[in-house]
């Protein structure tokens, strides 16, 4: 295990894409943490300045102001916090549900596996956005509920993924050997199956960060996610689209933020895949 990590780290350093991706992610993290100090107008997450509304980008407001006079640059910065939070919570939640279910199903097989497969089949026959929308509408429109909704729509993918990994690992020689030596399933699961199954899931999860951010932005578009005046990027684009013909900056900058954030997560994920499993370029 430790050796694999060292190998991975070495390969990471040599892969330019991964380095770029990770640096960008680190940058976003930094921005999110330092938001209250970097943002020139930190109160603009709530405060309004009607006199300054619709100011184009200038030295005073780098990204301009929106329809209520709030500084967009500051709001985009605070939005970083929100987006990272969304990505982390949703992915973590989905993994927390999906990994245990999937690994148990994959390792033990039999009835458990059948049941899991059927349940995930049902979930997977829904377009994930539809499910997220419906759950979000049920729970009520708010950012927290949107996160729960997306996580519920997302976990089946992870469960399936790790299940198929677990299945193939179960057949491997060293597992057979361990079983022959009398190892119990529990030990097998934790020491052999789980660590070796995680790689594709990690890759998928890091790429899903971006998709989750876009999904939550889509939900905001429908009014099902964050509520105004929360400076969530998707919400800002949603509201900004009413003005983008005359005041293009309200939509452009949050959009760029989403693009770059998702890009960096995807590049990182791609790179991670190359590192963690250079032979398994299966997808």
């Amino acid at each position: 295990m430790r050796r694999r990590l060292r190998d991975a780290a070495r390969r990471a350093k040599r892969n330019p894409l991964t380095v770029t991706g990770l640096s960008l992610v680190a940058l976003f993290l930094l921005i999110a943490i330092l938001a209250p100090w970097i943002a020139p107008y930190p109160r603009d997450t709530l405060a309004v300045h009607p006199d300054e509304r619709f100011s184009p980008p200038s030295t005073k407001h780098w990204f301009g102001t929106d329809e209520l006079g709030r500084d967009i640059f500051s709001r985009v910065i605070f939005g970083t916090r929100i987006s990272l939070r969304i990505g982390t919570i949703v992915v973590a939640l989905a993994l927390a549900i999906g990994i245990p279910l999937g690994i148990i199903a994959g390792t033990f097989g039999g009835l458990l596996d059948e049941v899991l497969m059927r349940v995930t089949d049902i979930f997977l026959s829904f377009p994930p956005l539809l499910l997220a929308m419906a759950i979000s509408a049920t729970l009520g429109p708010s950012l927290e509920n949107a996160m729960i909704a997306i996580a519920i729509a997302w976990w089946p993918w992870y469960a399936r993924l790790i299940r198929s990994e677990a299945l193939s690992i179960r057949e491997r020689d060293y597992v057979e050997a361990a079983r022959a030596a009398g190892a119990r399933w529990g030990r097998l699961l934790f020491r052999h199956v789980l660590p070796n199954s995680l790689a594709p899931v990690i890759v998928q999860a890091s790429m899903d960060f971006g998709s989750v951010i876009i999904t939550s932005a889509s939900l905001s578009f429908l009014g099902l996610g964050a509520q105004p005046p929360t400076p969530e990027w998707g919400l800002m684009i949603n509201i900004g689209r009413n003005f983008f013909l005359t005041h293009w900056w309200i939509v452009t900058f949050p959009g760029l933020a989403i693009l770059i954030a998702v890009l960096s997560f995807n590049i990182t994920g791609d790179g991670l895949r190359e590192i963690l499993d250079p032979k398994a370029e299966r997808r």
Binding site: P50, L68, P141, S142, Q227, P228, N242, F243
Partner: protein, 521 residues
């Protein structure tokens, strides 16, 4: 190696380009210069209701061109234009109304309109009892006096001419073609100048002129009118600017202001009877305390909301009856934007430092309401009051507001209000008359004195001095109690193609263009 792949890809690319080019050269577009086509844009669905007896919302634009009522009301001059009725008279007690009908009017189905058809149409609307059909509630019976005379017998006196001229549920249609499913299949059986040619879902309806229209087709008219629903305001504006649309019923203030300099577009800002209402939950703490309600009302930045949310196209409200409707008066007291007064009131009520949270729901998808809410929220935050604001679709909002469990209800409910016909008591009774199971009294206000006065005022002749005085008194009761307040009275912002002539705005028919009167020049 390199040449191999690139060459192949190049060849494929070239072939596809050639194919595309071939398609283009094969096409000939016939320009529609002989046909006059007008395009009517709106944000909402064009036909949420095909059945003329059921209407209550976005279909008003289309329906008022397919169907006609007995009269048409002009809100500016306060006069009636005879449409399907040529004249009418009322008894002294205003309980009997006799209408003489126009002869030679044909339905789109070919049948002739007569008194029997009028009675059957209105009877059906009353019986179906959907949407705005309640406007006919004063009617006891309808009598066919002869082929072209109809008499209405009312239970109580009411302005039947206004009712018969309503924008909804007052249409006359062919009773032989009045099956609900037939209507829903996209058919119409009206007398209006245009009839449906084709439709696609509820977003697009193409209408063509009805050759046998009683008004005749002399002069310049449109041959086709297309009603289109485009939800994106920016797209509507782009279509206007590029000449793809003629009439856009509502555009946001920023787009209107941007279009003002455009020679291809004419911008009109017209009066309306629509306002934004705030209903406080009168039955739950902390808003069950009048002082708190009044304090909250002093926190709304009224002028800012008109400037920001309406782009200046509107007025700060003075009482719940909107500017321009009789009953509006400057004798009605108002609240102003005064945080210091609010703070004092809150201290008096026992909340010197604020410290409470209120659940506010408002309709999703309306920028002006959203901006108003955000401005109010920021102002409340200054006094340490948290407004938990939720934009919700109507279905869910109303489920919460009408929930039988009072704990589940919201603290503040926002909505637009406009009358079904040009009568102010809709504002008062619709939202403030005691309702055991609330329909739109979603502040759950109950005041027997108020109720009694409303019962009395509806018996008074419309627009009389006594009625006006009563309206003022009723509005002042509401202001004193701060049961619910109106924030702003909006104006309708329209953008019209400069080549479109003949359009006259009429506040009694919100967002309706009578296309028969319009032409292109």
């Amino acid at each position: 190696m390199k040449e191999g792949i690139s060459a192949l890809l190049f060849k494929i690319g070239l072939t596809s380009l050639f194919l595309v080019f071939a398609v283009f050269t094969l096409s000939i577009v016939v320009t529609g210069q002989e046909l006059q086509v007008a395009v009517h844009l709106q944000g909402a669905e064009v036909v949420p209701y095909w059945d003329p007896s059921d209407g209550a919302s976005g279909e008003i634009g289309l329906m008022n061109n397919l169907y006609e009522a007995l009269l048409r009301y002009n809100a500016v001059t306060n006069t009636f234009t005879p449409i399907l009725a040529t004249s009418y008279e009322q008894s002294e007690d205003a309980k009997t109304w006799t209408f003489k009908l126009r002869k030679g009017v044909k339905f789109h189905t070919g049948n002739t309109m007569d008194a029997r058809a009028v009675k059957a149409s209105i009877d059906r609307t009353i019986e179906r009892d959907r949407g705005s059909a309640y406007i006919w509630s004063p009617v006891d019976s309808i009598e066919v006096v002869d082929d072209y005379t109809v008499r209405f017998h009312l239970r109580q006196s009411a302005p039947l001419d206004l009712i018969a001229a309503a924008g909804y549920c007052a249409y006359i249609f062919d009773p032989e073609y009045s099956d609900h499913d037939w209507f829903n299949a996209g058919n119409d059986s009206g007398t209006g100048p245009y009839t449906v040619e084709s439709s696609e879902g509820s977003e697009k309806v193409i209408t063509k002129k009805f050759d046998d229209y009683w008004g005749g087709w002399e002069g310049k008219h449109f041959d086709r009118v297309v009603f289109l629903s485009v939800s994106e305001a920016s797209t509507r504006r782009l279509m206007l600017e590029t000449g793809k649309a003629d009439f856009c019923e509502q555009l946001p203030p920023t787009d209107i202001d941007a279009l003002k300099g455009n020679p291809a577009v004419r911008v009109e800002v017209n009066p309306s009877f629509q306002n934004l209402m705030v209903l406080y939950n009168n039955q739950r703490a902390p808003l069950d305390n009048k002082l708190v309600r009044r304090a909250m009302s002093y926190l709304i930045p009224y002028e800012d909301t008109v400037a920001v949310a309406l782009g200046g196209h509107g007025h700060v409200s003075r009482g719940v009856i909107p500017y321009g409707l009789w009953g509006y008066s400057d004798r009605v007291e108002t609240f102003t934007d005064s945080p210091t007064v609010a703070k004092a009131l809150l201290a008096q009520a026992g909340y010197p430092d604020g410290g409470f949270k209120l659940l506010l729901t408002y309709p999703a998808g309306y920028e002006d309401i959203r901006m108003t809410v955000e401005l109010w929220k920021a102002a409340c935050a200054e006094l340490n009051i948290t407004l938990d604001t939720r934009a919700m679709p109507t279905a869910e909002r109303n489920a919460i507001a009408r929930s039988p469990d009072p704990e589940k209800r919201q603290d503040i409910y926002l909505l637009y209000w406009w009358p079904d016909y040009a009568n102010p008591d809709s504002f008062l009774s619709g939202m403030f008359y005691t309702q055991e199971r609330p329909a739109y009294n979603l502040g759950y206000y109950s005041n027997p004195v108020f109720d009694a006065l409303i019962d009395y005022v509806v018996t008074l002749p419309t627009g009389s001095q006594e009625a006006i005085d009563m309206m003022v008194e009723l509005q002042n009761i509401l202001q004193q109690d701060a049961a619910g307040i109106a924030v702003w009275d909006m104006q309708y912002r329209r953008a019209i193609s400069a080549s479109l002539k003949g359009y006259v705005d009429n506040a009694a028919y919100p967002n309706v263009a009578f296309w028969y009167n319009c032409y292109r020049e």
